[in-house]
């Protein structure tokens, strides 16, 4: 509830979000037993940093992740912005109630007016009064490949975003900074598309049965073998939908009496899966190892609530790259913790598979770790592979168990054959098994593009979140009015971006998000960067105070570094 309790868990220089912590170590935590020590000093310059040996040695290269704090003035103005919007929201609702303003909302049927209302009034307050003002920034229909450039259908609204009409015109060649097309496999030409069309001709698009019945097609088996090889695990299983891979498999693994430790910023599918499993869920601070370790220790010491029986098993749920923060999971530390406390690890690589690591094998590859240390490797094919669906990889026993008990294998239609083929071809390309170096080139290109794009944005003075190597680049907008303005101004400059606000982010941390792709050329990135800079000046988005302080300031504050030396 209070700031104190929130920041107690966060600590020292490892924590991005807090700079001051007066009561570090004041929570009865005895240090020498913990794997990752808590820092006691409030803030230290990097030169003075003394890292605990066990933790720094875990990283083979620098791990730079930045979450510059919100400037106070900006925070105050943001709250004021929301305040004004809320006041106007009430005013408008009042006018609508008194029929002084036309209400565009769909109404309940006359016959059902006396039913219990389907929605409570307040439920849609936010949608009606805040989201509706900037609704044009989302769901923009596209009519081409979601590649580096895309064609958008032009929409106009005669009634302030309540309805949209298509003018019939097309916005051609909009630079796409929004799609999760990390390796540029969203293509309609080339081997992927060719093999997928051959597959369509042969198999058709549907399957009309489940894996356990008669929906287990040879293509699925081929993909599963390939995916296991790609991931470096014993066995793997694929599913028709990424979201469902999480929500339908976690319940098969965990049950009542088990404990799930989940990162606070985990994706909705993980949260749903955890909830459906019936296990107890505890949440740790985003990417915060002290918080995780504390929960693990508490779980060991206290056991289950009330009965104090020991937990049956403990599962740590994390993602590889967090799609709204652009941060990369601190996997080496998590693996160390998981080994020490004998917990299991479920790693969701929805965004990181293909997008990270020198060989595109995701976050495990990025840190140079052994995939066997991760008990459950999960990921999706939607992003880097330009397809759809998800996989789970791991030990043979795990996958065999899922073959029998996964909700998806028993009740859901299996993956469409052409989609399966697209994944096979793109995966082979990344692995270099197609006999070319195209896959490797894409990986290099993505990594180059990411570094360039992040560096340039940083130089321009924007506050950008996340890890330096993450292709997901959130740029902070903060104020609600700027969400809409940024999206629209960028579209005017022929650049399609994603803007997000509450409830996808904390209320004051509205942001724009760019997803860098291997398909972006340097020229496209420069065009985009220039436009971003222009809009940034127009909307006064260059909040970062690091630049103003010059080089001295760049590496202080929330930059956290773990060096090998």
């Amino acid at each position: 509830m209070t700031q104190n309790s929130a920041s107690k868990l966060l600590n020292g220089d490892t924590l991005h979000r807090t700079k001051q912590d007066k009561k570090a170590g004041g929570n009865g935590f005895v240090k020498n037993h913990c794997l990752f020590q808590q820092q006691q000093k409030r803030y230290r310059r990097p030169a003075e940093k003394s890292h605990h040996a066990s933790r720094t040695l875990l990283y083979k290269k620098t791990f730079v992740e930045s979450f510059e704090e919100t400037p106070l003035l900006v925070a105050v103005l943001t709250y004021m912005g929301y305040g004004i919007l809320t006041i106007f929201g009430y005013l408008r609702d009042f006018l609508r109630d008194w029929k002084l303003e036309k209400c565009h909302l769909a109404r309940e049927r006359e016959e059902q007016k006396d039913f219990v209302p389907l929605y409570q009034d307040f439920e849609n307050f936010y949608t009606r009064n805040l989201y509706m003002r900037i609704r044009d920034n989302w769901n923009r229909p596209i009519r081409s490949v979601p590649g580096a450039k895309m064609d958008l259908v032009e929409r106009v609204t005669p009634d302030y975003n309540w309805t949209f009409e298509h003018t019939g015109k097309v916005l051609k060649d909009v630079i796409n900074m929004g799609s999760y097309n990390y390796l540029g496999f969203a293509e309609n030409t080339g081997t992927c598309a060719d093999t997928a069309s051959e597959c369509t001709e042969k198999y058709g698009v549907g399957v009309c049965s489940t894996r356990q019945e008669l929906g287990n097609i040879d293509k699925h088996e081929e993909l599963e073998k390939l995916a296991a090889r790609f991931l470096g695990v014993e066995s793997s299983m694929v599913f028709g939908m990424g979201f469902a891979t999480n929500s339908m498999n976690i319940p098969a693994l965990m049950e009542k009496g088990c404990l799930i430790l989940s990162d606070e910023l985990n994706h909705a599918s993980l949260v749903l899966g955890a909830r459906l499993s019936g296990a107890t869920i505890r949440v740790f601070k985003h990417n915060n190892m002290q918080s995780l370790e504390k929960l693990l220790r508490d779980a060991m010491v206290h056991g289950q609530p009330r009965t104090h029986r020991p937990w049956k098993k403990i599962l740590i749920l994390v993602e590889g790259i967090y799609s709204m923060e652009g941060s990369i999971v601190r996997l080496p530390e998590i693996i160390a913790l998981k080994k020490k406390y004998k917990a299991y690890l479920y790693l969701d690589e929805a965004h990181s598979i293909g997008a990270l690591g020198p060989r595109g094998r995701g976050v495990v590859d990025y840190f140079g770790l052994d995939p066997c240390d991760v008990d459950i490797m999960m990921g999706t094919f939607t992003k880097s592979f330009g397809a759809a669906g998800g996989y789970i990889g791991g030990k043979k026993e795990l996958v065999d168990y899922l073959r029998l008990h996964s909700h998806s294998a028993v009740y859901a239609t299996s993956m469409s054959p052409p989609i399966t083929q697209q994944i096979i071809t793109s995966m082979k390309c990344i692995m270099g098994e197609d006999g070319t170096t195209l896959g490797q080139e894409r990986l290099c290109q993505l990594s180059e593009n990411t570094t360039y794009f992040r560096r340039r944005l940083h130089e321009m003075g924007f506050i950008i979140y996340g890890n330096n190597d993450s292709p997901v680049v959130p740029l902070m907008l903060y104020m609600p009015a700027k969400i809409g303005a940024f999206g629209r101004e960028m579209l005017k400059r022929n650049i399609g971006t994603v803007v997000v606000g509450f409830p996808a982010t904390p209320i004051i941390e509205s942001r724009a998000r760019f997803c860098v792709s291997a398909a972006h050329t340097r020229e496209m990135l420069d065009t985009a960067l220039n436009a971003i800079s222009e809009v940034g000046d127009l909307l006064q988005l260059k909040y970062s105070r690091k630049n103003r302080r010059g080089s001295e300031g760049t590496d202080c504050f929330s930059y956290l570094e773990s060096h090998l030396d």
């Binding site: 709250y79 059902q112 389907l118 069309s197 198999y203 795990l398």
Partner: protein, 519 residues
């Protein structure tokens, strides 16, 4: 004297953490009022303020009229609360008197259960049957060509050249994946077209598509029904409905399969309950969730009776039509058309596009008032990548075929009746399901008493048929997860492509197998 203070505290030290604490203090108030505050942002405040009137002026007036001692008292109270907020918080529950050494020992001693229990290598379901090539009318299972009596390809659209052609054209235009959720450049013009076409086909105001059939109803239910709401659901409801119910965290009441009296009993009970606490009853939403044609029992829900109950007890109806969409009714609109029920009387219809339409994904349709809500609240819609455009195009073309030739439904219904009749009198097996159902169940007449043995017998019949080129399948369930586990059965699926002769052959084959294996 009315006083009401709504205090928002914004802590802004240098930390990034922000709080908006919200304290409501009411003195000797008879009618609580809310002061609209510039910072009223949290959901709770919205909730609180919604029903209240705008009384800022009166608020200020009351403030002036209040006696001094009152103001001083409240001032002290505020200061005290601020102090409480800043003071250290204790978690009583987690205090333990263990020493560090004891803790270490506990950590050392603890051994987790294995991540998954061991699976025996020869579990009958572990080795899936492998289908080589398309699972269409002629299907190659484990290297043997069979006639397909197992895939839900009711209308035979899976290998329709027209559908394939449209899918290919779409692939040429859009590529395969969408690389994003609907909100973030994952909405393609074909998605909008498909939604429009589905709405038109079903004669509803709006439709919304999901990228996975299973996720459709499982996301739709929790979008409306929340904690505290009540859902009346048929015992035979399929697994995705069960998951939707679980995700909604609502209060679930099961009624006996297709038993309207039992449902009415529950509704009456609820009515009595409501009279006890009418204020609470005014905010509890109620839903009846049923399937049009049950996948687990192959029979049709008594929809007209349900509609009557709906208006009598003011409950909304959610209808799952995965099996009946594209099957029942003159134009394949499903169970509403079958019974001639006004589709507007059903609050929400959901179906998947993986059976009759032979594509992938699912949709919900109904009035805009209902459906539109899912665009921000349907988890499987908002947080998942959208349907690959080629699959949407395939579904559009399948709809075209259905619209152009409604005769196809007649053919299917005749075939269903034919199969139903042909399977009657199989020794030792009983046919479960209505003559109109395209997916029937064959159950053992006399169970051996053990599920495993029953399954073994049925499996033997399936294998026997498979050897004679009739592809059947056991209906699969997660035995521990199903709330009401249906008895073991063989599923026989009817499609328009099966000829008279093939149906006779299949029936003959099953009969032979039954005689041989069950005797």
């Amino acid at each position: 004297m009315k006083t009401f203070i709504n205090l928002y505290k914004h802590t802004h030290t240098h930390t990034h953490t922000h709080t908006h604490t919200h304290i409501v203090m009411s003195g000797s108030s008879t009618r609580p009022r809310l002061m609209k505050h510039a910072h009223a942002q949290s959901r709770d405040s919205v909730k609180m303020a919604a029903g209240q009137q705008w009384v800022l002026v009166e608020m200020v007036q009351a403030f002036y009229e209040a006696p001094a001692y009152h103001l001083i008292l409240e001032g002290i109270l505020i200061l005290w609360i601020i102090r409480l907020l800043f003071s250290k918080t204790y978690k009583l529950q987690e205090r333990s008197d263990l020493t560090e050494k004891e803790k270490e020992e506990l950590i050392e001693e603890w051994q987790p259960e294995p991540l998954v229990p061991p699976v025996s290598k020869d579990h009958p379901s572990l080795n899936y049957d492998v289908v080589t090539g398309p699972p269409s009318h002629k299907i190659i299972v484990n290297g043997k060509e069979c006639i397909n009596f197992a895939s839900f390809n009711f209308l035979g659209l899976l290998d329709s050249e027209r559908v394939k052609l449209k899918a290919l054209l779409s692939l040429k235009k859009y590529g395969v994946g969408t690389c994003g959720p609907r909100g973030f450049y994952g909405t393609f013009d074909v998605h909008l077209e498909l939604e429009e076409r589905l709405a038109k086909f079903m004669r509803t105001e709006e439709a919304i598509i999901y990228s996975y059939g299973f996720a459709t109803i499982a996301s739709a239910i929790p979008a409306y029904s929340k904690r505290g709401d009540i859902i009346f659901v048929d015992e035979a409801a399929c697994f995705s409905i069960q998951k939707g119910l679980q995700a909604s965290r609502s209060f679930v009441k099961h009624f006996k399969h297709n038993d309207m009296e039992d449902l009415e009993r529950l509704l009456k009970e609820q009515e009595i309950e409501d009279q006890k606490n009418p204020r609470k009853a005014r905010v509890i939403r109620r839903f009846i969730v049923v399937e049009g044609l049950y996948i687990n029992t192959a029979d049709i829900c008594p929809l007209p009776d349900l509609v009557k109950l709906k208006y009598k007890y003011k409950v909304r109806i959610f209808l799952e039509e995965s099996m009946s969409f594209g099957v029942l009714g003159e134009h394949g609109r499903g169970v509403t058309e079958h019974f001639g029920v006004n589709i507007d009387d059903i609050d929400l219809i959901s179906a998947n596009m993986e059976n009759a339409l032979a594509s992938i994904g699912g949709f919900c349709c109904g009035r805009s008032f209902v459906i539109d809500h899912q665009r921000l609240s349907g988890q499987g819609y908002c947080f998942s990548a959208s349907l690959p455009p080629m699959l949407a195009s395939a579904a559009i073309e399948a709809l075209n075929i259905m619209e152009e030739d409604p005769g196809i439904f007649r053919v299917l219904q005749d075939k269903c009746k034919h199969v139903h009749k042909a399977l009657q009198g199989t020794p030792g097996l009983k046919v479960v399901g209505e003559p109109l159902a395209p997916a029937l169940h064959l159950q053992l007449e006399n169970s051996t008493g053990s599920r495993t043995n029953d399954l073994k017998l049925l499996r033997a019949i399936v294998d026997y048929s498979m050897d004679r080129q009739i592809a059947l399948t056991l209906a699969r369930y997660l035995e521990k997860e199903e709330r009401f586990l249906p008895p073991p059965s063989i599923r026989v699926v009817v499609t328009v492509e099966q000829t008279q002769e093939e149906i006779e052959r299949a029936a003959q084959c099953i009969r032979e197998a039954a005689v041989k294996i069950l005797k």
